[in-house]
């Protein structure tokens, strides 16, 4: 059972455009939703994260939008740049569950073309 569904699998965006990646979750106990960014040949690294008590979090060009009732959250990359080309993973976890297990989506490969 896939607990975090991510779409699209791949995305091509023009430089300066907006990249949008969507995720949906099933387990209503999840209370922490991070996004990880992975460049080729590297391990994933935390990009931005949100808790369900807020509907939006912005850090620079990156914004998470969260819809608790729909059990969905999304990553928006404004003014996308070629350097943003990477694979993005959404994830979810239950804080305080004792093991900090993250359930990851399957990833979105973003290509930003000049």
């Amino acid at each position: 059972q896939q607990q975090v569904k991510q779409s699209p699998q791949s995305l091509i965006v023009q430089k300066g455009g907006i990249s949008i990646i969507n995720c949906a979750y099933e387990n209503t106990a999840f209370d922490y939703f991070p996004w990880y960014q992975q460049f080729p040949g590297k391990g994933p690294a935390l990009l931005i994260a949100i808790r369900p008590d807020v509907s939006e979090k912005k850090e620079g060009r990156f914004t998470i939008s969260f819809n608790k009732s729909a059990k969905q959250f999304s990553l928006h990359i404004m003014d996308s740049q070629p350097g943003d080309s990477a694979t993005y993973f959404c994830a979810a976890s239950i804080v305080g569950a004792g093991s900090y297990q993250l359930t990851f989506g399957k990833g979105t490969k973003l290509s930003v073309i000049p």
């Binding site: 991070p34 994933p44 297990q101 990833g107």
Partner: protein, 112 residues
């Protein structure tokens, strides 16, 4: 401060051979994890540890064993490698007070 270090970075095995992947972290983190990454499958948790001397199964534990004899090290073993275990393996750690996993740079394993 090296963070999370994985060795080796690349390895080719023949079916049936065994090997151990080593993960070391210098952040005094309690929690450590082994993930495998396959195209289109995302990151799947193999085993994890919530402290020295403890281990637990994740989503895809079959064919793997782990040990956490020292707090800073987490070993992943393949006793009899199979082609289905061809993957990129990532180790990660997490410490109380942090809200993120720190990942190593990965091990590319091919089983022929």
């Amino acid at each position: 401060n090296a963070g999370v270090t994985q060795t080796p970075k690349f390895r080719v095995l023949k079916t049936g051979q065994s090997m151990t992947l080593l993960c070391a972290q210098d952040m005094n983190h309690e929690y450590m994890y082994w993930y495998r990454q396959d195209p289109g499958m995302g990151l799947r948790l193999i085993h994890y540890s919530v402290g020295e001397g403890t281990t637990a199964k994740g989503e895809v534990p079959d064919g793997y064993n782990v040990s956490r004899l020292k707090k800073q090290n987490f070993l992943l073993g393949l006793e009899s490698a199979a082609p289905s275990q061809t993957s990129v393996y990532f180790c990660a750690s997490f410490g109380s007070g942090d809200e993120k996993l720190f990942f190593g740079s990965g091990t590319q394993l091919s089983v022929l």
